[in-house]
Subunit: 156 residues, 2 copies
DNA sequence: ATCCTTGCAAAGTGTTTGCATCGAG
DNA sequence: CTCGATGCAAACACTTTGCAAGGAT
Protein backbone atom coordinates (compact mmCIF):
# COMPACT_ATOMS: atom_id res chain seq x y z
CA UNK A 1 0.00 0.00 0.00
CA UNK A 2 2.57 2.51 1.11
CA UNK A 3 4.92 3.77 -1.54
CA UNK A 4 7.97 2.71 0.38
CA UNK A 5 8.88 1.64 3.82
CA UNK A 6 10.11 4.82 5.34
CA UNK A 7 10.30 3.54 8.87
CA UNK A 8 13.43 1.45 8.72
CA UNK A 9 15.31 3.76 6.40
CA UNK A 10 14.62 6.85 8.45
CA UNK A 11 16.48 5.31 11.37
CA UNK A 12 19.43 4.63 9.16
CA UNK A 13 19.25 8.07 7.63
CA UNK A 14 19.26 9.54 11.07
CA UNK A 15 22.40 7.58 11.87
CA UNK A 16 23.93 8.55 8.56
CA UNK A 17 23.24 12.17 9.47
CA UNK A 18 24.99 11.70 12.77
CA UNK A 19 27.97 10.25 10.97
CA UNK A 20 28.14 12.94 8.28
CA UNK A 21 27.85 15.64 10.89
CA UNK A 22 30.73 14.13 12.81
CA UNK A 23 32.85 13.93 9.67
CA UNK A 24 32.11 17.53 8.74
CA UNK A 25 32.87 18.70 12.25
CA UNK A 26 36.23 16.99 12.33
CA UNK A 27 37.25 17.79 8.76
CA UNK A 28 37.07 14.23 7.47
CA UNK A 29 35.86 13.22 4.08
CA UNK A 30 32.96 11.11 3.00
CA UNK A 31 35.23 8.61 1.36
CA UNK A 32 34.46 5.42 -0.48
CA UNK A 33 35.59 3.39 2.49
CA UNK A 34 33.43 5.29 4.94
CA UNK A 35 30.29 4.97 2.83
CA UNK A 36 30.94 1.32 2.24
CA UNK A 37 31.64 0.42 5.86
CA UNK A 38 28.76 2.52 7.10
CA UNK A 39 26.38 0.66 4.83
CA UNK A 40 27.70 -2.74 5.78
CA UNK A 41 27.54 -1.92 9.46
CA UNK A 42 23.95 -0.75 9.25
CA UNK A 43 22.98 -4.00 7.60
CA UNK A 44 24.31 -6.06 10.48
CA UNK A 45 21.83 -7.09 13.11
CA UNK A 46 23.40 -7.78 16.44
CA UNK A 47 27.01 -7.62 17.48
CA UNK A 48 30.02 -8.02 15.26
CA UNK A 49 33.78 -7.90 15.43
CA UNK A 50 36.18 -6.02 13.20
CA UNK A 51 37.27 -9.32 11.77
CA UNK A 52 33.73 -10.35 10.84
CA UNK A 53 33.11 -7.02 9.21
CA UNK A 54 36.30 -7.27 7.19
CA UNK A 55 35.39 -10.76 5.99
CA UNK A 56 31.87 -9.67 5.17
CA UNK A 57 33.24 -6.92 2.94
CA UNK A 58 35.76 -9.16 1.29
CA UNK A 59 33.14 -11.76 0.50
CA UNK A 60 31.18 -9.11 -1.33
CA UNK A 61 34.33 -8.07 -3.16
CA UNK A 62 34.23 -4.68 -1.52
CA UNK A 63 37.83 -3.69 -1.31
CA UNK A 64 38.85 -2.52 2.13
CA UNK A 65 41.91 -3.45 4.07
CA UNK A 66 41.86 -4.39 7.69
CA UNK A 67 43.49 -1.19 8.90
CA UNK A 68 40.83 0.80 7.08
CA UNK A 69 38.08 -1.18 8.75
CA UNK A 70 39.59 -0.42 12.13
CA UNK A 71 40.08 3.20 11.28
CA UNK A 72 36.51 3.63 10.17
CA UNK A 73 35.17 1.75 13.16
CA UNK A 74 36.93 4.36 15.23
CA UNK A 75 35.18 7.07 13.25
CA UNK A 76 31.84 5.40 13.81
CA UNK A 77 32.57 5.08 17.50
CA UNK A 78 33.59 8.71 17.74
CA UNK A 79 30.43 9.70 15.87
CA UNK A 80 28.37 7.72 18.36
CA UNK A 81 26.89 5.53 15.63
CA UNK A 82 28.23 2.31 17.06
CA UNK A 83 29.44 1.38 20.48
CA UNK A 84 31.53 -1.36 21.95
CA UNK A 85 29.49 -4.00 23.55
CA UNK A 86 31.21 -5.94 26.20
CA UNK A 87 31.99 -9.61 26.09
CA UNK A 88 34.57 -11.52 28.01
CA UNK A 89 36.34 -12.21 24.78
CA UNK A 90 39.59 -11.46 23.08
CA UNK A 91 38.28 -9.15 20.41
CA UNK A 92 36.13 -6.11 20.73
CA UNK A 93 32.49 -6.40 19.77
CA UNK A 94 30.51 -3.60 18.26
CA UNK A 95 26.89 -2.87 17.61
CA UNK A 96 24.67 0.04 16.59
CA UNK A 97 23.87 2.51 19.26
CA UNK A 98 20.29 2.58 18.07
CA UNK A 99 18.78 -0.61 19.32
CA UNK A 100 16.43 -2.38 17.00
CA UNK A 101 15.51 -5.20 19.27
CA UNK A 102 16.81 -4.41 22.73
CA UNK A 103 17.99 -7.51 24.45
CA UNK A 104 20.40 -8.60 27.12
CA UNK A 105 22.84 -11.40 27.80
CA UNK A 106 23.52 -14.06 30.37
CA UNK A 107 27.10 -15.31 30.20
CA UNK A 108 28.34 -18.63 31.40
CA UNK A 109 31.53 -18.10 33.38
CA UNK A 110 32.60 -21.66 32.59
CA UNK A 111 32.20 -22.02 28.85
CA UNK A 112 31.90 -18.34 27.87
CA UNK A 113 28.69 -19.03 26.01
CA UNK A 114 25.72 -16.75 26.40
CA UNK A 115 21.98 -16.71 26.06
CA UNK A 116 19.88 -13.72 25.10
CA UNK A 117 16.68 -12.42 26.61
CA UNK A 118 14.50 -9.47 25.75
CA UNK A 119 14.65 -6.09 27.40
CA UNK A 120 11.93 -5.63 30.00
CA UNK A 121 12.48 -1.92 30.52
CA UNK A 122 12.96 -2.47 34.20
CA UNK A 123 15.98 -0.25 34.27
CA UNK A 124 14.10 3.00 34.68
CA UNK A 125 14.94 3.21 38.37
CA UNK A 126 18.46 4.01 37.37
CA UNK A 127 17.71 6.81 34.99
CA UNK A 128 17.19 9.52 37.55
CA UNK A 129 20.33 8.52 39.46
CA UNK A 130 22.48 8.56 36.35
CA UNK A 131 21.02 11.65 34.75
CA UNK A 132 21.42 13.55 37.98
CA UNK A 133 25.15 13.17 37.37
CA UNK A 134 24.79 14.89 34.01
CA UNK A 135 25.17 11.68 32.04
CA UNK A 136 23.02 11.44 28.95
CA UNK A 137 21.75 7.88 28.54
CA UNK A 138 21.66 6.45 25.04
CA UNK A 139 21.01 2.86 25.90
CA UNK A 140 21.80 0.09 28.27
CA UNK A 141 22.52 -3.57 28.52
CA UNK A 142 22.26 -5.98 31.34
CA UNK A 143 24.73 -8.79 31.87
CA UNK A 144 23.92 -11.75 33.98
CA UNK A 145 26.63 -14.23 34.66
CA UNK A 146 26.50 -17.68 36.05
CA UNK A 147 26.41 -21.23 34.82
CA UNK A 148 24.60 -22.44 31.76
CA UNK A 149 22.58 -25.62 31.73
CA UNK A 150 25.24 -27.66 29.95
CA UNK A 151 28.01 -26.67 32.32
CA UNK A 152 25.81 -27.47 35.30
CA UNK A 153 25.21 -30.92 33.88
CA UNK A 154 28.89 -31.38 33.21
CA UNK A 155 29.78 -30.33 36.76
CA UNK A 156 27.19 -32.58 38.38
CA UNK B 1 32.16 -6.77 71.54
CA UNK B 2 32.50 -9.76 69.26
CA UNK B 3 35.66 -11.72 69.58
CA UNK B 4 36.58 -11.29 65.95
CA UNK B 5 34.95 -10.19 62.78
CA UNK B 6 33.96 -13.43 61.21
CA UNK B 7 31.77 -11.92 58.56
CA UNK B 8 34.30 -10.74 56.02
CA UNK B 9 36.63 -13.70 56.40
CA UNK B 10 33.89 -16.27 56.06
CA UNK B 11 33.13 -14.97 52.59
CA UNK B 12 36.73 -15.35 51.61
CA UNK B 13 36.90 -18.80 53.20
CA UNK B 14 33.88 -19.78 51.22
CA UNK B 15 35.62 -18.67 48.06
CA UNK B 16 38.81 -20.40 49.08
CA UNK B 17 36.77 -23.55 49.55
CA UNK B 18 35.36 -23.19 46.07
CA UNK B 19 38.86 -22.82 44.70
CA UNK B 20 40.31 -25.75 46.62
CA UNK B 21 37.42 -27.95 45.59
CA UNK B 22 38.01 -27.05 41.97
CA UNK B 23 41.71 -27.82 42.27
CA UNK B 24 41.04 -31.15 43.92
CA UNK B 25 38.46 -32.06 41.32
CA UNK B 26 40.80 -31.33 38.45
CA UNK B 27 43.91 -32.81 40.01
CA UNK B 28 45.74 -29.54 40.45
CA UNK B 29 47.91 -28.66 43.38
CA UNK B 30 47.63 -25.95 45.97
CA UNK B 31 50.88 -24.41 44.92
CA UNK B 32 52.70 -21.37 46.22
CA UNK B 33 51.60 -19.38 43.19
CA UNK B 34 47.97 -20.30 43.60
CA UNK B 35 47.84 -19.41 47.27
CA UNK B 36 49.64 -16.18 46.67
CA UNK B 37 47.50 -15.05 43.75
CA UNK B 38 44.31 -16.11 45.46
CA UNK B 39 45.16 -13.99 48.47
CA UNK B 40 46.10 -10.98 46.39
CA UNK B 41 42.97 -11.26 44.30
CA UNK B 42 40.73 -11.44 47.35
CA UNK B 43 42.30 -8.28 48.69
CA UNK B 44 41.40 -6.32 45.61
CA UNK B 45 38.19 -4.37 45.72
CA UNK B 46 36.72 -3.70 42.31
CA UNK B 47 38.00 -4.70 38.91
CA UNK B 48 41.57 -5.38 37.95
CA UNK B 49 43.60 -6.49 34.97
CA UNK B 50 46.22 -9.22 34.78
CA UNK B 51 48.83 -6.51 34.43
CA UNK B 52 47.74 -4.69 37.58
CA UNK B 53 47.74 -7.92 39.51
CA UNK B 54 51.22 -8.80 38.31
CA UNK B 55 52.54 -5.37 39.28
CA UNK B 56 50.83 -5.58 42.67
CA UNK B 57 52.62 -8.84 43.36
CA UNK B 58 55.95 -7.60 42.16
CA UNK B 59 55.73 -4.50 44.32
CA UNK B 60 55.28 -6.73 47.34
CA UNK B 61 58.25 -8.81 46.22
CA UNK B 62 56.03 -11.80 45.72
CA UNK B 63 57.71 -13.69 42.93
CA UNK B 64 55.35 -14.64 40.14
CA UNK B 65 55.88 -14.33 36.44
CA UNK B 66 53.32 -12.97 34.08
CA UNK B 67 52.50 -16.34 32.51
CA UNK B 68 51.82 -17.73 35.97
CA UNK B 69 49.47 -14.90 36.78
CA UNK B 70 47.55 -15.60 33.59
CA UNK B 71 47.50 -19.31 34.25
CA UNK B 72 46.17 -18.89 37.76
CA UNK B 73 43.59 -16.36 36.66
CA UNK B 74 42.32 -19.07 34.35
CA UNK B 75 42.12 -21.44 37.30
CA UNK B 76 40.18 -18.87 39.30
CA UNK B 77 37.86 -18.31 36.38
CA UNK B 78 37.31 -22.03 35.96
CA UNK B 79 36.65 -22.35 39.67
CA UNK B 80 34.07 -19.59 39.42
CA UNK B 81 35.86 -17.46 41.97
CA UNK B 82 36.41 -14.55 39.63
CA UNK B 83 34.73 -13.57 36.42
CA UNK B 84 35.54 -11.33 33.54
CA UNK B 85 33.81 -8.07 33.74
CA UNK B 86 33.26 -6.35 30.52
CA UNK B 87 34.72 -3.02 29.52
CA UNK B 88 35.27 -1.59 26.11
CA UNK B 89 38.95 -1.92 26.62
CA UNK B 90 41.92 -3.79 25.26
CA UNK B 91 42.66 -5.93 28.25
CA UNK B 92 40.38 -8.20 30.13
CA UNK B 93 39.10 -7.05 33.48
CA UNK B 94 38.36 -9.37 36.34
CA UNK B 95 36.56 -9.18 39.61
CA UNK B 96 35.31 -11.48 42.34
CA UNK B 97 32.14 -13.32 41.63
CA UNK B 98 30.94 -12.60 45.13
CA UNK B 99 29.93 -9.00 45.08
CA UNK B 100 30.79 -6.98 48.12
CA UNK B 101 29.17 -3.78 47.04
CA UNK B 102 27.10 -4.46 43.96
CA UNK B 103 27.26 -1.55 41.60
CA UNK B 104 26.89 -0.80 37.93
CA UNK B 105 28.48 1.38 35.29
CA UNK B 106 27.55 4.05 32.82
CA UNK B 107 30.08 4.34 30.03
CA UNK B 108 30.72 7.37 27.91
CA UNK B 109 30.95 6.31 24.29
CA UNK B 110 33.03 9.39 23.52
CA UNK B 111 35.77 9.42 26.13
CA UNK B 112 35.43 5.82 27.41
CA UNK B 113 35.16 7.03 30.96
CA UNK B 114 32.56 5.62 33.28
CA UNK B 115 30.60 6.47 36.39
CA UNK B 116 29.37 4.01 38.97
CA UNK B 117 26.00 3.73 40.64
CA UNK B 118 24.65 1.33 43.23
CA UNK B 119 22.67 -1.77 42.49
CA UNK B 120 18.96 -1.23 43.00
CA UNK B 121 17.95 -4.88 42.75
CA UNK B 122 15.56 -4.05 39.98
CA UNK B 123 16.74 -6.93 37.89
CA UNK B 124 14.48 -9.52 39.44
CA UNK B 125 12.09 -9.47 36.51
CA UNK B 126 14.71 -11.24 34.50
CA UNK B 127 15.40 -14.05 36.90
CA UNK B 128 12.45 -16.21 36.02
CA UNK B 129 13.07 -15.79 32.28
CA UNK B 130 16.72 -16.73 32.56
CA UNK B 131 16.33 -19.53 35.06
CA UNK B 132 13.62 -21.05 32.94
CA UNK B 133 16.39 -21.69 30.42
CA UNK B 134 18.32 -23.65 33.00
CA UNK B 135 20.84 -20.91 33.57
CA UNK B 136 22.02 -20.51 37.14
CA UNK B 137 22.46 -16.83 37.95
CA UNK B 138 25.45 -15.88 40.06
CA UNK B 139 25.31 -12.15 39.58
CA UNK B 140 24.62 -9.39 37.17
CA UNK B 141 25.79 -6.03 36.03
CA UNK B 142 24.08 -3.30 34.18
CA UNK B 143 25.81 -1.15 31.61
CA UNK B 144 24.42 2.14 30.55
CA UNK B 145 26.11 3.95 27.73
CA UNK B 146 25.81 7.46 26.53
CA UNK B 147 27.57 10.75 26.93
CA UNK B 148 29.13 12.02 30.11
CA UNK B 149 28.74 15.59 31.28
CA UNK B 150 32.18 16.67 30.11
CA UNK B 151 31.74 15.33 26.61
CA UNK B 152 28.36 16.99 26.33
CA UNK B 153 29.93 20.30 27.26
CA UNK B 154 32.74 19.75 24.79
CA UNK B 155 30.28 18.93 22.01
CA UNK B 156 28.05 21.93 22.71
C1' DA C 1 59.48 -41.82 39.96
C1' DT C 2 55.73 -39.31 38.51
C1' DC C 3 53.35 -35.50 37.45
C1' DC C 4 52.29 -30.64 38.44
C1' DT C 5 54.28 -25.86 38.59
C1' DT C 6 57.09 -22.21 37.23
C1' DG C 7 59.91 -18.99 34.49
C1' DC C 8 61.90 -17.81 30.35
C1' DA C 9 61.72 -17.01 25.74
C1' DA C 10 59.13 -17.43 21.76
C1' DA C 11 54.91 -17.56 19.34
C1' DG C 12 50.13 -15.96 18.74
C1' DT C 13 46.27 -12.76 18.07
C1' DG C 14 43.97 -8.75 17.54
C1' DT C 15 44.83 -3.92 16.72
C1' DT C 16 47.55 0.19 15.47
C1' DT C 17 51.10 2.91 13.06
C1' DG C 18 54.48 4.58 9.45
C1' DC C 19 54.99 5.47 5.12
C1' DA C 20 54.39 5.94 0.34
C1' DT C 21 50.80 6.35 -2.99
C1' DC C 22 46.42 7.58 -4.49
C1' DG C 23 42.69 10.65 -5.03
C1' DA C 24 39.19 14.30 -3.98
C1' DG C 25 38.31 19.21 -3.67
C1' DC D 1 48.30 21.88 -5.09
C1' DT D 2 46.96 20.54 -0.65
C1' DC D 3 45.44 17.49 2.61
C1' DG D 4 42.90 13.44 3.68
C1' DA D 5 42.26 8.23 2.51
C1' DT D 6 44.10 3.86 1.70
C1' DG D 7 47.00 -0.46 1.56
C1' DC D 8 50.95 -2.71 2.79
C1' DA D 9 54.19 -4.15 5.93
C1' DA D 10 55.90 -3.57 10.24
C1' DA D 11 55.19 -2.58 14.94
C1' DC D 12 52.50 -3.10 19.19
C1' DA D 13 50.18 -4.79 23.30
C1' DC D 14 48.17 -8.38 25.59
C1' DT D 15 47.93 -13.24 26.17
C1' DT D 16 49.30 -18.01 25.43
C1' DT D 17 52.49 -21.90 24.60
C1' DG D 18 56.79 -24.86 24.51
C1' DC D 19 60.19 -26.36 26.97
C1' DA D 20 63.37 -27.38 30.54
C1' DA D 21 64.21 -27.01 35.45
C1' DG D 22 62.40 -27.35 40.01
C1' DG D 23 59.25 -29.31 43.56
C1' DA D 24 55.63 -31.86 45.74
C1' DT D 25 53.59 -36.39 46.72
Amino acid sequence: MSRFDSRSTSKIDQERGRFLKHLARTGLRVSRGRELIFNEVMQIHGHFTAEQLTKKCQKKNLKVSRPTVFRILHDLLAAGVIRETAFGDKHRHFEHVYDEKPHHHAFCIYCHGFIEFPDMKEDMVYHSIIEKKGFKILGHEMHFYGMCRKCQEKAA
